[in-house]
Each structure stands twice: as C-alpha cells, then as structure tokens.
C-alpha cells in the first residue's frame, strides 16, 4: 500500500463526492473491510503515509486511508481500486449516452423534414412495410425483407411477398458480406447467388438479389434491406441499387426515430419519476416543523434537486418538552432512494413508539431506538446494496443538553451562544446498512439557551462554484455564528443566500436540506401569542385593528397603552406596505400575522406571498412637512427595535419585527 496508484485523471463532480465516498465505504463493507478503511480528503501537502490515492483536484486529494491496526488482505486494495474505476466508467457511459442522444436528436430533426411520408401518423412497423413495398414495385415477381441486428444476428423485422424467414448471419453469406463491406451488393447470376448465399434459403431460387446496409453515422450498420426476384429475366441495375440504398436510409431513419421516441418517452418517464419523488419527499420525508414552540425556534428548508434524492428529516415533540430531530440521507437517487428514506423514518418512528415512551424522562435511550431501527433496516438495505446515513438527536430544554446518535451522517454544527462559536457535533457510527454487527452508541453535550443546532445535507456544503470549490463547512459555520442570534429562520435564509451567492446558481446538483433548532433563551419564550390572517385588501384593515387591539390589550401581553398605540401604528404601516407594494393592490391574497409576547420582548411575524420589499434602512422622511409620504418605514423603525426581512423556503416573505420591553435603543436593521 505504498505510494499512489493512479486510477483516473480528475476528481469527480464535487457535488458527488459524498456519494462516491459512501459508495466506496459500501464496497469496503461488502469486502468485510468497513471498519478498516476511511475515505478522506486531504490537502496535497498533507496526505498521511500509507494512503491509496484515488482522485485529486487543484489542491486536495481524495484518499483511501487505513484505520489504525487495520490488516488488509493484499487483494482488498485492487478490489477497492477497481470498484472506484467501475463507478467512474458507469458515469462516463451515462455522459456519452446523453451526448449521443443530443446529437441524434438534431440529425433526426433534419431528416424528418426530408420526407413528408415520415411525418404521417403511421406506426414505424407500417412505414417499414411500405418501404419494402416500394422496393419491390419496379421489379417483377420480387420480394423484399428488412433485417435488424439483435445481439449479433440479423433478425427479420418486416418482409414483403415472401414466407416468414429465419435468422440471417452477420458473418457469413450475403448478409455477412454487407456487414463486412458496409455497402450495397448486387448479384445477377443465380448460380453465384446459390454459392454465396449458403444457408440463406430466402433467395435460394432468386435470379437477382440486391442488399443495402441500414446505417446511421452514430450507430454504424444495424440492419440490412434485401430485394430479390425469381423472374428469370430480371437483372438489377445500378439505379435499382441506388433506390435500395435510399430506402435503406429511410428505414434507418424510421428505426432510429422509433428508438429515440422510446428514449424520449423514457425521459418523460424520468420526469414523472422526479415528480413522484418530490411528492414522496414532501409528504413522507420532510416533516413540518412545529411552529411557535414554547422552548424552541425551529426552521427547515428543503430544496429538491433536479433528481430525486433520499434526504429526509423530521421532528418529534416529546411529552417532557424534549425535541427529537431526525435527519438522514439515502445513498442513491430516484424513487427507490425516496422510498428507503420513508421506510427508515418509519422504522425510527416505530422504534420510538416501542421504546421511547417506556422510559422515564431523562433516561431516554437514543441508541436503543437507533439500534432497534438498524436491526430491522440493515438486512433489507444490504439485500438491495444501499445504505442510509442519519443523525438522531434529542434536545432537552429542562436539562439543557443535547444527546445524539450519528450513523455516518454529515456533521451537525452547534452554535454556542455564550462564546459565539460553532463546533462540530459528530459521532463514530457507520451508515445504517453497512455492517450488520454495528452497534450504535449515543453522545451528549451541554446545550444552553441561545445555542443553535444546524443540521444539513451534503448538498449544502458540497455546493460548488464555477472554479469547483465547495461551499464547505467553514463558510457554513461562519453564517451560523453571524445569524444564530436572530433565530432559526434567519440562519436558513442566510445559508440559502450565501450558497446561491457562492455557487452563482439558484439550483443545486444535490438536495439542499437544512434544519435549524434554537433553544430559546428564557426571555424569548412566548408567554402569550395570537395570530390572524388578513386579506390583502385595504378594506380588511378594520380586522387588523380588532385583532391587534385585543392582543395588545391582553393582560398577558402586559404593555402600556402608549406603547400599544405605537405598536398598532407600526403593524398597520407594515401591513399596508405589503398590500400596496408586495401585492400591488391586488385583493384575495393572504397576509398572515403572528404575535408573541415574551418575557423580554414582543415579536411580530408578518408573512405574505407577494413581491419581497426593501431590505435597506429607510431614509428619514421630510420632517418639514414638505412631502406627504415616506413615513411608513420610519415609523416601523422607531417603534420596533429590529426589522428582519426573510425569504422563507416556502416562497413566502416574512417580516419579523421585534420590540424589546426595555425599548429605547436606536433601531437596528439587518438585511
């Protein structure tokens, strides 16, 4: 295992790295080596000795590394190396196929225009039969046949004026000669014909015979059109051969268009699969976060990629106020991956139901739950050669702790409010489905009020820019540290914006899944809340006044009447702004308002589906009375201590307004 063995010239698309890594681990597991090898990325300068080099880009390499004390059989290394190669070749084949399809489609378009006949509604079988009919028309007592290549032999596909023929050789006889020479041949001597034809009994009694190849530039020869006549006076001339060649061209076109049509229908089917997949994802895989939880501020984001991934996540509220979070990723794509995700989630839920409720609060055994689910899933996963990475965590707001079990999932980031730093929360477990004997164990850490967990799929950190750099965990951690104090939705909004900014694209190669959980500091926990949904028309303002009046006057809200007057004013300004600018005066659209009274603040969340409005701090209005407008934002910023504009993953805008109970500070605006 010394030195580097070069397998392929470049690193795979960066978005695929996590998956490739998973793939290698699964092969390693299949070879009984799971606990002995790691697939890691190192800077070139920093590759530890004894690694098998797999891939590299500008500055780093992907290597296969031996675990300490590993004893690899000598055959294991080439086995893994060839697994790597296999995967690459499969990808290359797929790429070639796509390219070929694109080229074919263009030539197809051009050819289509050549023949009006081809644009008819006839089936391709009928069209091919007509070609044979046309071939025989100028010749007395003639027959024709169309052969297509199927796994090495030439199989009759259509025939005219002859008995159902048997197979033809692509090596011997007249047909074999056309395959070898790739051009038309013609014979007008019955004796010669019988000598060369050999077993090709169809034209054993022919006086003349002509054969032309069916080819396309992309596929080469894939069939033959043959014409023969038993009439003793028949003699095929070069004109007839040209006709036969032309008809062979047409036949090629028809066969190819049928094949491409089927490929196209196949791609339609794929599109449909993606739709089904996202439906599974939305309904089975991605849980709705509890909103306005008494202890937690939770936000989720899932942006499916162009293909179906098996990302899943969910949250379960425990009766002892704890929040369980499950996030996972199935290796592979498509509906099978989505279904495996759903099955895994189901098994974890089942295990929670069976064990979770039986144990006393504080004595929850997360690893018990995961081991139980793994025992049920692993045999099935191994049978279909798949596996699942997941992280199952429990945040306990009574004891201020987080416990988790990690099954080879991407690390979770933990923001510590006290130090304003982010650390990694990672375990040692292998992905579920890799090893039947794997026993998962849980870890735990303190989790203080204000702390935030950021769960994410590798689609987030592996989003890459034009030069192939990945967004990476460091950037993600920096975003978390910057925005965690403003809440879970603010973190996810910032993550989305930064990744889009970084990658220069709003669509992602992989599913983009994030979940943020913030343990609310005591002062931010709602003691009283209320909500209302208004219509976007100005005539619905009285309903705002009635609802806000009730909320602001409630004893639990506990504010002075003077403050209540100003808060109503600021809310009205916000809502009319949305009605006029967000919805441009259209009625019939929702404006949903949520208000929460907390110990140290009041929070208002106003959500709409209109055009997002300005993030900038408002310029001062004309205080000399020379202008009638421009007061709205100024009023909001005077009354509120914080104004946040968020774009939610569901496409809604959220205006989040906060007023501290000790309000006096100058306004703070965060884009």
């Amino acid at each position: 295992m010394n030195g580097a063995s070069q397998l392929t010239p470049s690193l795979p698309p960066t978005g695929q790295l996590g998956q490739l890594r998973s793939f290698l681990l699964s092969r390693a597991a299949a070879a009984g080596l799971a606990s002995q090898v790691l697939v890691e990325i190192y800077p070139h300068s920093d590759i530890p000795p004894g690694c098998l080099w797999l891939e590299s880009d500008g500055d780093s390499s992907l290597v296969l590394q031996l675990a300490p004390n590993a004893t690899l059989p000598p055959s294991a290394v080439p086995a893994l190396a060839s697994a790597w190669k296999d995967l690459h070749e499969a990808e290359k084949r797929e790429l070639l196929l796509l390219e070929e399809l694109a080229v074919d489609w263009e030539s197809l378009q051009a050819l289509y225009d050549l023949s009006a006949d081809l644009q008819s509604d006839l089936s391709h079988t009928e069209m091919l039969r007509r070609i044979l009919e046309r071939a025989t028309a100028p010749v007395r007592d003639s027959s024709a046949i169309l052969l297509l290549e199927r796994s090495g032999t030439l199989v009759p596909f259509s025939w005219f004026n002859t008995q159902a023929p048997g197979e033809f050789s692509s090596i011997t006889g007249l047909t074999g000669r056309v395959v070898r020479e790739q051009h038309a041949i013609v014979l007008n001597d019955p004796v010669r014909i019988r000598a060369v034809a050999g077993l090709e009994s169809s034209w054993a009694d022919a006086a003349s015979v002509a054969l032309a190849p069916i080819t396309t530039p992309q596929r080469g020869l894939f069939g033959i059109i043959a014409l023969w006549s038993r009439h003793p006076e028949s003699s095929f001339n070069s004109h007839l051969v040209r006709l036969l060649e032309a008809l062979g061209q047409q036949a090629a076109l028809i066969v190819e268009s049928d094949r491409l049509g089927r490929t196209l229908r196949e791609s339609e089917r794929l599109k449909q699969e993606i739709q089904i997949g996202s439906l599974i994802q939305q309904t089975l895989l991605i849980g709705e976060p509890p909103r306005h939880h008494p202890y937690f501020d939770i936000a989720t984001m899932n942006m499916p990629s162009q293909t179906v991934d098996g990302d899943f996540m969910d949250m379960f509220q425990r009766c002892d106020d704890g929040l369980e979070v499950l996030v996972g990723d199935v290796m592979g794509k498509g509906i099978p991956a989505a279904l495996i995700g759903a099955a895994t989630k189901g098994q974890v839920l089942r295990a929670i139901a069976e064990t979770g409720h039986a144990v006393a609060p504080g004595a929850v055994s997360l690893d018990g739950i995961i081991n139980r689910a793994a025992a049920r899933m692993t045999p099935h996963l191994q049978a279909i050669d798949r596996f699942v990475t997941l992280n199952f965590a429990l945040v306990d707001p009574q004891r201020n702790t987080v416990q988790w079990v990690d099954c080879g999932h991407t690390a979770t980031l933990h923001y510590h409010a006290a130090s304003a730093e982010a650390t990694q929360m990672k375990g040692e477990g292998l992905p579920m489905g890799v090893l039947e004997s794997e026993v998962y164990s849980e870890s735990s850490a303190p989790f203080e009020p204000g702390d935030t967990l950021l769960f994410y799929s590798d689609g987030v950190t592996e989003a890459s820019n034009a030069s192939g750099d990945m967004f990476g965990e460091d950037r993600l951690a920096a975003v978390l540290v910057e925005h965690a104090p403003h809440g879970a939705a603010a973190v996810l909004d910032a993550v989305r914006r930064r990744v889009v900014e970084f990658s220069g694209s709003a669509t992602f190669a992989d599913d983009f899944t994030c979940l943020a959980v913030r343990l609310l500091p005591r002062g931010e926990r709602p003691v009283y809340s209320s909500s209302v949904t208004l219509d976007s028309t100005l005539s619905d303002l009285p309903r705002l006044y009635a609802w806000a009046g009730t909320f602001l006057a409630a004893p639990e809200t506990d504010i002075e009447p003077e403050a209540a007057d100003l808060l109503l004013l600021a809310l009205t300004e916000s809502v009319t702004n949305i009605m006029r600018h967000g919805y441009e005066g259209a009625s019939g659209k929702p404006i949903a308002i949520f208000a929460a009274a907390c110990l140290d603040r009041l929070v208002f969340e106003i959500e709409d589906e209109g055009i997002p409005w300005t993030y900038e701090p408002a310029p001062d209005p004309a205080f000399d009375g020379s202008k009638s407008g421009g007061f709205g934002l100024f009023i909001i910023d005077q009354v509120m201590d914080r104004r946040l504009h968020l774009r939610l993953p569901n496409g809604r805008n959220r205006l989040q307004l906060t007023r501290f109970r000790n309000h006096q500070n100058p306004t703070e605006n965060t884009p």
């Binding site: 100005l538 005539s539 303002l541 009285p542 006044y545 009447p561 003077e562 007057d565 100003l566 109503l568 004013l569 009205t572 300004e573 009319t576 009605m579 006029r580 209005p621 205080f623 000399d624 009375g625 020379s626 202008k627 009638s628 407008g629 007061f631 709205g632 100024f634 009023i635 005077q638 009354v639």
Partner: protein, 112 residues
C-alpha cells in the same frame, strides 16, 4: 362619508369623519375635502372623532396644509387623542402643524 362643517366668520371648522383615517379611506376623504381647500382658506380640522391615524392619513393632512399655505391660508388641528398625538410626535409633525387641545382654543388662535 358626510363631513360636518361649521363656518364662523371667515373660518371653516371641519370635523373629520369616522374613527380611523388610514390607507383605507385617506384617498376618498381627500376628494371630499378638495372643494373646501379654497385659496386663502382659514381652516380648523377637528380630529376628536378619530381614534387612529396612520401615515397615509398624516400624508392627507400634510397635503391639505401645503395647499392652504401656498395660497396664503392656514390649517390648524384640534382634538387629537393620545394615539394620534403619539404619531405626530413620532414623526415630528407636531412641529409642522399648529395643534390645539380643543376647538375653542383653535378658534381663539384665529382671533374669534
């Protein structure tokens, strides 16, 4: 909306109707007030009935004020409740408008 007006010598006292003056009705009210914005008019707006005014309502009042000022007239306000007063102070418009607690005080400021 019917607008109650009272004329005292050359002063017109207009009671702004309704409980709210906001984005929902400022435009209509502006049209209804337009005929009263005569050149050189001496006006008092009585806001006693209004419980709530937003920035659109304030915009309407400012536009009236500018109109009469430009033609040598005047506009004074009275009867602002606490909430309305708070809006004026928040955006410093109490320094732009002449505001009186009662209709009587406003009249007296015109010397009647």
């Amino acid at each position: 909306m019917s607008i109650a007006t009272e004329t005292l010598q050359d002063i017109q006292i207009i009671t702004l109707p309704g409980e709210t003056l906001d984005a929902g009705n400022a435009k209509i009210l502006k049209e209804e007030l337009a005929p009263m914005m005569q050149p050189g008019a001496k006006l008092i707006f009585d806001l006693t009935q209004l419980r709530f005014v937003d920035s659109s309502g304030l915009g309407l009042l400012l536009s009236c004020l500018r109109q009469v000022h430009n033609t040598g007239g005047d506009l004074k306000l009275c009867g602002l409740n606490k909430a309305v007063r708070a809006l004026f102070e928040l955006v410093r418009m109490h320094r732009v408008f002449e505001i009186f607690a009662t209709r009587e005080e406003a009249k007296r400021s015109y010397g009647v």
